[in-house]
Amino acid sequence: MSEDPVIELRGASKRFRSGSGGVHTAVRDLTMTVARGEFVAVVGPTGCGKSTTLSLVSGLEPPSDGEALVAGRPVDGIPDGIGYMFQNDAVLPWRSVLDNVAAGPRYRGEAKAAAREKARDWVARVGLGGFESYYPHQLSGGMRKRVALAQTLVNEPSILLMDEPFSALDVQTRALMQDELLRLWSGSNAAVIFVTHDLEEAIALADRVLVMTAGPATVKASFDVPLARPRDVEEIRLTAEFLEIYREIWESLKEEVEETRARGAGRVA
C-alpha cells in the first residue's frame, strides 16, 4: 500500500495563536499515509486535533512545520479531487436540496441543466428522491447529512475527508448512513480519512484505524482491520473478530481518553 500514497503527512505540525496570547499546538509531528482506495479511520479523544489534521490535508490550513502531500505534490491551496464533509452542517439554507447538490458541478463550470441532472441522480442515490425541492430547514438531521453527502460525492472525489459526519445522528440513523456510505464508496476507489470519536464506527467502516494521542495530536498506533467486505455494520459489530479488534484498539485509545479526562478534571479543579 505504501508505495503509492495519495495522502501523506510528513512530520506535520499546526500551531494556533491561543486566546490568551500564547501558542497552542493542535497537531505535532504527525506522519501518516493513506493509499489509493484505502479507508482509514482516525480516532482520538475530543479536542486532540483530528479536525485540524483534516484541514491540513484539505489545504484549508497550511502546516506550521513539516509537509502535507496529496498525490505526491505539496498541498498549496485546495488540491484537486478533494471532498470534505465538515463536522458541522454546511448545506446552504437558502438553496433547495437539488441546488445544494448541484453546487459543486456549477462551481466547476458545468451548465445549469447538466449540473442539475447530475444532482438529481445523486439525490436519488443517497435516498432523497422526492425531496429535491425541499429547503434544509424542512429536513431532519439525518436527511441534511444525506444532502451533505450527495453534495460531496457528486464531484466524484478521489480523496474523501469526513469529520465526524454522523456523530449528531441517533443510533439507528447512524447505522443506516454508515451502510450507505460503504455502499457508495465501494468501487469508487477513493481514499478516505474518516474522523470519529466512536471506536465501533471506526472499526465497522475502515481498513485501518489510527489512534491519535491526547492533544497535541500525533499518531500513536495503527491497527489493520481485516474484516471482509462488503460489510453490514450492524451485523459485524456482533462478531467475535470485531470484538477482539475492538478490545485491542480500545486498550490503546483508553490511555489517551483517560489522559484527556485527567487534564479536563485538572482544568476544572
Partner: protein, 294 residues
C-alpha cells in the same frame, strides 16, 4: 359538581368557558373573532382621537395653529380635485417619489457593494474605519444645504441628500452581514470548487441578504426624509416644497395634508419591500410565532 374539591362556581365557570373555543373545529372562528376585536378597537381609537381633536379645535384650542381633521380632509380633497398652489398634486408626488426612489436605489447599491467589500477585506476595513466613523458622525441632514449649492434647485440635490442618508443605513448592515458569514459555509464552497468570486456571489451575498433587507425597511423612510428635507431647503417642485409653502402661508391643514400623503407613500413602499423580502427569504423557516400561533 361531582365532588371536585374547592372550586367555586365562578371559578369553574371561568375555567369551563374557554373550552368550546379551544375545540379544533372552532379555531378558525376564534381567529376571526380575535381579528374582528382587534380591528374594532383600533377603529374606536382612531375615531376617539380624531373626534376629540375635532371637538377641541372647534370649542377650545385655536384651529389656526392646530387645524382640525375636517379641514385637513377638505385640503386633501381640494388638492386631489383641483390641484395645489404649486400645480397638480400628482406632479408633486411624482417628483418627490422619483427623488426618493433614485436616492434609495443608488444609496442601497453603493451601501451593499461597499459594505460587502469592506466586510470581506480586513485590510480595506482597517484602512477605511476612521473615515467611515467620521463621515457617519457628520450631521448628514445639513448636507442638504450644501447639495442645493452644488447641484441647484432641481432633483439631483435631493437625490444626493437621500443617497447619503440611505447609504449609511444600508452600509453598516451589509458590512455586518458580510462579516458574520459562517466560515463553515465558505470553506465548504471552496472545497466544492468555488472561486473567490463565486464564494462572494453564492455564499456571502445570500448570507448578508437578510441583514441588508432588514436595513432597507428603514432606508426607504430615510430616502423620503432626504428628498423632503432637500425640498425644504430649496426646490421648485415636490411635496416638501408644498409643505414649506403651507408653512409660510400659515396653512396648518396643508402641513398635515402633506404629512399624510408622505405617510401613505412610505407605507406603500414598506409593503413593497416586505413583499420583496418574503420572496427572497422564502427559504427561511417561518418564525415560530407565525407557525405556532393560531
Amino acid at each position: 359538581m361531582r365532588g371536585e374539591p374547592d372550586v367555586s362556581p365562578e371559578a369553574s365557570a371561568v375555567l369551563a368557558a374557554p373550552a368550546p373555543v379551544r375545540a379544533p373545529v372552532s379555531v378558525a372562528s376564534a381567529v376571526r373573532r380575535r381579528r374582528m376585536k382587534i380591528w374594532s378597537i383600533r377603529l374606536a381609537l382612531v375615531v376617539l382621537w380624531l373626534g376629540s381633536w375635532e371637538v377641541s379645535a372647534t370649542y377650545w384650542i385655536d384651529p389656526f395653529f392646530y387645524s382640525k381633521p375636517s379641514s385637513v380632509w377638505q385640503r386633501l380633497v381640494d388638492w386631489f380635485s383641483s390641484g395645489t398652489s404649486q400645480g397638480s398634486i400628482w406632479e408633486q408626488m411624482s417628483v418627490t417619489l422619483q427623488e426618493a426612489a433614485a436616492g434609495f436605489v443608488l444609496g442601497a447599491l453603493a451601501g451593499v457593494v461597499l459594505g460587502i467589500l469592506l466586510g470581506r477585506s480586513h485590510l480595506l476595513s482597517d484602512i477605511c474605519a476612521p473615515f467611515i466613523k467620521a463621515a457617519n458622525a457628520v450631521p448628514r441632514i445639513v448636507l442638504a444645504a450644501l447639495f442645493v449649492l452644488w447641484f441647484g434647485l432641481g432633483m439631483s440635490s435631493k437625490i444626493a441628500t437621500a443617497f447619503v442618508l440611505v447609504f449609511f443605513a444600508v452600509f453598516f448592515n451589509a458590512f455586518q452581514g458580510a462579516r458574520e458569514v459562517d466560515r463553515n459555509l465558505v470553506n465548504n464552497a471552496r472545497i466544492l470548487g468555488a472561486s473567490r468570486f463565486q464564494v462572494l456571489t453564492t455564499i456571502v451575498v445570500p448570507s448578508a441578504t437578510s441583514w441588508i433587507l432588514a436595513s432597507l425597511h428603514s432606508a426607504f423612510g430615510f430616502a423620503l426624509i432626504g428628498a423632503v428635507v432637500g425640498e425644504f431647503t430649496g426646490a421648485d417642485r415636490g411635496l416638501g416644497l408644498l409643505i414649506d409653502r403651507s408653512r409660510s402661508t400659515f396653512d396648518s391643514a396643508g402641513i398635515y395634508a402633506g404629512m399624510i400623503v408622505i405617510t401613505v407613500i412610505a407605507l406603500l413602499a414598506e409593503w413593497l419591500i416586505t413583499a420583496l423580502e418574503k420572496r427572497l427569504l422564502k427559504w427561511r423557516p417561518p418564525a415560530a410565532s407565525a407557525e405556532a400561533q393560531i
